[in-house]
Symmetry: C2
Subunit: 305 residues, 2 copies
């Protein structure tokens, strides 16, 4: 059997990279030769977690160089490798909405949980496989990242149980303390360009025929980010340069779980309707909003109908 | 929590109905109020199996009357309830190719195994739930039906292991003997009309923009079916009346695992290319062909490209 690449979505976050590493190990133990790769460089938070658990950063690709691949943490072509239509997907493990077609039956396992690593944890359990300590550490980091330390509304009991168990295996005595340190490592925006802040975690969505770009950046001080002199101009520029119909950059305070959004687009009333608030000079207040998947995308999809 | 319907595809076979019963029981034990229903009357084989294990036939519907539903043994709208786009699918358990979209994350578990009941068997095992004896019996029947007694090329080791285990739970001492009796009960075509033979197990597929209808009927004597005086005319009539571009009725001998096909359509060379054989008076020889999913649909899809 030939080698199969295992990867998460483009603009990878800690779930995309961490779960690719965990899934590559899982399938290796099930007899498939695998290599975890990443569709982009790890961000500061992921880099912190990889270093902490002495894991190497996966090779970065944008085009798959094996015939068969395993997807984690995404299923849509537009979030994947550039040659998506020329390769065969044999397995998908994911926790996002589904937009997927195949010509043959394949393995597909999705659950509405906070993080793909929570699903991997279940797979390891069901197969009675021990999780190596560093792999448990990066899975723990992925869940903390996706659920903002189990505070996001996407969090389920399964995520909580996985965090407790993985922290033990990874020998992390205080996962809250570790998690906050890791999340903070990902919020140092001072050394990043506006473009890195805008595009670092951005994903494209189609809403009512419109091409909508949604980015999110975590911080411990929202105003610290919003006060960057050229940020708004550059959000607008990104939309124009890349041909998006709308663009929303969500700036999230990971300590108190509130956000503000910078929006440019064709229909400002759609975003005001979506979040039941007024845009003031292209900024909208988003109290209690932290989850792109569970709060931002569904609300905005409805607002754009 | 409101009740959720659990159902397999329209024109139900023993997998569609049997796995709906098994899944309804599984999710009930997991705290969801469920009712197994069927999108059509059970065929003779399914009726035999239900009677054998003293199970009631599920209520027959064509439109779902609950807001939320669980799909088994299918995922495509065109094989499902008439109000598919107005209801919310919360879970899918399936073994077919995927053509599925959601607006929210849901539970989706698919594996390339011979029968959906094999996946249910794994779910019961993973949840450490005992399978009631009659439920094990109908799951056993579903696997025997879909794999033609473990002889179809779709058969995997998981199907074989599930059959062994389920036969014990269902107290079926000789599953081969039971299986052959059950399969034969489904092959008594004498009392059925041509239309029942043509449409009883038929499914629609889109291939290269063409609407293709594929039916399959099991028998112990292929010529016995082909010699029906008006069968070919009625296959052609079905295509014209329902507006299909192409129609293929596969007649399969369950004892020796060979088939013949009756074909009408826009492009006879496509079906000849697909199966590397000549159509003679609209009949094509299909030696070794028994699986619609693994052999007929992929070959015909390629032939139509």
């Amino acid at each position: 059997m030939n080698k199969q690449l295992v990867f998460g979505h483009a603009n990878p976050d800690t779930d995309a990279i961490g779960t690719a590493i965990a899934a590559a190990e899982y399938f290796k133990r099930r007899g498939i030769e695998t290599e975890a790769v990443a569709l982009g460089n790890p961000n500061d938070e992921t880099r912190f977690a990889l270093n902490y658990f002495h894991l190497k950063c996966p090779r970065v690709i944008n085009k798959a160089d094996t015939e068969e691949v395993i997807l984690v943490d995404h299923n849509e072509a537009k979030q994947s490798v550039s040659n998506f239509n020329d390769i065969k997907v044999t397995h998908v493990i994911d926790h996002h909405k589904i937009n997927f077609q195949t010509t043959d039956p394949i393995y597909y396992y999705a659950k509405p949980v906070g993080c793909t690593s929570t699903i991997l944890f279940e797979l390891y359990q069901n197969a009675h496989l021990e999780i190596p300590s560093p792999i448990a550490g990066i899975m723990l980091s992925a869940i903390i990242s996706d659920t903002l330390l189990l505070k996001s509304p996407t969090t389920t009991d399964e995520d909580r149980q996985a965090v407790e168990a993985l922290a033990k295996i990874a020998e992390v005595s205080d996962y809250k303390k570790y998690g906050l340190t890791m999340l903070k490592a990902g919020t140092n925006v001072d050394k990043h360009s506006d473009h890195e802040i805008i595009d670092g975690d951005a994903k494209s969505f189609e809403m009512n025929g419109r091409k909508v770009r949604i980015g999110q950046v975590n911080t411990v001080d929202v105003n610290d980010v919003l006060s960057r002199s050229s940020l708004k101009d550059n959000v607008k520029k990104e939309m124009i340069d890349k041909g998006y119909d709308d663009i929303l950059l969500v700036v999230t305070n990971i300590i108190d779980s509130n956000s503000k959004g910078i929006f440019y687009g064709k229909d400002e009333s759609a975003v005001e309707k979506a979040f039941n608030a007024k845009l003031i000079d292209h900024v909208i207040d988003l109290p209690g909003i932290v989850s792109r998947k569970k709060q931002i995308v569904p609300n905005l999809t409805k607002g754009m109908e």
